[in-house]
Symmetry: C2
Subunit: 289 residues, 2 copies
Amino acid sequence: MPLSHRINSAVLNALEIAQAAPAPGKLAEALSYATTPGGARIRPTILLSVAKACGDDQPMLTDAAAAALELIHCASLVHDDLPCFDDAALRRGKPSVHLAYSEPLAVLTGDSLIILAFEVLARAAHHDEGRAAKLVLSLAQRTGMPGGICAGQGWESEAEVDLTAYHRSKTAALFIAATEMGAIAAGHDAESWHDLGALIGEAFQVADDLRDAVLDEDSLGKPVGQDDLHGRPNAVATYGVDGAVSRLKDILAGAIASIPSCPGEAQLAEMVRLQAQAIMPKMPAKYRT
Amino acid sequence: MPLSHRINSAVLNALEIAQAAPAPGKLAEALSYATTPGGARIRPTILLSVAKACGDDQPMLTDAAAAALELIHCASLVHDDLPCFDDAALRRGKPSVHLAYSEPLAVLTGDSLIILAFEVLARAAHHDEGRAAKLVLSLAQRTGMPGGICAGQGWESEAEVDLTAYHRSKTAALFIAATEMGAIAAGHDAESWHDLGALIGEAFQVADDLRDAVLDEDSLGKPVGQDDLHGRPNAVATYGVDGAVSRLKDILAGAIASIPSCPGEAQLAEMVRLQAQAIMPKMPAKYRT
């Protein structure tokens, strides 16, 4: 089965749990609205790819892990879009959850998706209770405080920011969860898969910075130059455009080199190369050399 | 050790995990603000009492369960107080989290506390992985959708409300979690402890309805007559004051009768009787017969 089918059916199975009658109808509907059809599903794709590289001997547990990670990612988007954060009108081409449903329902949608993520892992625990506990731990650490995406958002309320901690928690955390959880689900050690996730996360951050700096609003689909405007630290300000491009290539090479020895090592390296091509922004003519 | 000491030290141990450096300072501080000194800690007290009645053979796991349940309860208060829900200025005699810190930090505080609850259970899983998985499941089911406190709040956005589902999820859910998780932590079957939690939850609901109907604002510490004002269904409207008082006594008698046979049955019945006295509102003279 293609990875995208596995991910979609795992997410749909999770939603079925949360929407079982009797359930309040609008909140139940908002859970689907926030998670389907979904974006690129990059994080669960990485998770499944790592699990496959490690043998994927408990595929039901792997699927639960992939769904859990994607649910958390979707929850974070719903809360990030709230008026008190980004006040975003659109998400994936449709009105954000608080505009489509209401602000209370958007808060509850995020909360419910976070909780559902952990419920999905608990329900799959009978496949391997030890691995399930490690999956809950990894997901919680990469989502909450002090090292997860909540911490990443929390840093934005600080006058003095620890930039390393900020980037690791804000952007890299769910990529680290992806590689760690893929390994754990397949019975491998999480720790040796940490760096691959961290490097992929860093690559996404640099690619984002590049897009923000060099694309026009039409190509990006949202206002450009936001990092410069808000004085946010970014790779282009630090290294220049050419420097950031070569930094991105270096990080991806490092990511591939960091892949631990495992049965599916070559195939996984190929997946990282493909993801790398997908995230490299199409540079406008004036930047091409 | 008195139960209240066990609960407080379990909550403080959990906070230490979430506040480990490097962490964004304000969010870290808000986590303490939202959870300490705490209210009556009724839910974890019930959880510990049930675990003790069942033998409490894994006290570290029981403590983790008590902390997890209290963290979720505190998270729900922070999100309930948000401007888009109750817009509450005060909580436990001090400014609510969104006023003391900011609305973004209040959303993140709730999110982080929910996630921390599951992390605490995962960290205690090595004491008994099977029980830990069941604890995660019970907590998630009583917190999220379709049967937890998120669902309870979700019903308030519906034009037509399933009243049984509404009350079970809004008020009773975390009491059901308390009795189920206490039993699970001590290696007992969750199912036979469900009714005790549900009945205690119902008793709290009726006691709340009575307080809302018969007390004045000074005694209640918040505006009275809110159920009547908002046309909310409540026990006093259905049974009258005397009827509601005798209904409350019936429910508590039923709760005590529902206690499954276990080593600490008598002591647990005594605890329920004490909680019952504590929640029965002091009736003003005009209602005394």
